[in-house]
Symmetry: C2
Subunit: 131 residues, 2 copies
Amino acid sequence: MSENPDVTAIRDQIEAWAAAVRAQDMPGILRNRSDDMVMFDVPPPLQLRGIAAYGASWPQFFEASPKPIRFDIMDLQITAGDDVAFAVALMRCAVIEDGDADLDFRLTVGLRKIDGRWIVAPEHHSVPAED
Amino acid sequence: MSENPDVTAIRDQIEAWAAAVRAQDMPGILRNRSDDMVMFDVPPPLQLRGIAAYGASWPQFFEASPKPIRFDIMDLQITAGDDVAFAVALMRCAVIEDGDADLDFRLTVGLRKIDGRWIVAPEHHSVPAED
């Protein structure tokens, strides 16, 4: 019950981010992310660079998602040092194009503590490739 | 020219790992990885848990790869704290089944410093999903 307070802060932040995605709350989605963040997303392209490109990627997901939006954290593991951390999660969303099928995906984020706040820099979402 | 020595150590380690993949050198591939590591790989399944499952995933890649094996680091960014770090890379391999086509993929790893050595715990490889 005495979890590292940085782990608690990062868990709260990732849960708030997932809730913001479900609510299509763009300021909440963008909160605590680096201006020069790199995003490896599920759809192409290979990478997105910068917070503007990251923000612009979300409407495509909202359109592809049945409502209410599913964006659930199934399993989350956080490793935090003094000022560098990473988190790994299994997540579940859903997509209209597969008959509203659930879609499980993998998430990895790297974070840095800047002025007392944990900021996400790289963010990596993926599904396994088709056989 | 005064790079953080932890960043240098992690870069050297990732370059040695990529060289071990090219050489199909399994001890080199497994070096500096956690026994309980989690791997999100390009092919299914959603996740692999543990160093044995990680090791068992490589022959499939070797068989799918034209020889000599391509496994090149195109761009590598490392963020290191005192005992936690992460690295993000764009990588290039090749696959026989696409007519020996190049295949670009994304890599994220998280590392912890244990007894003075940087150890990879989560490792995430992916390609964008098909449109």
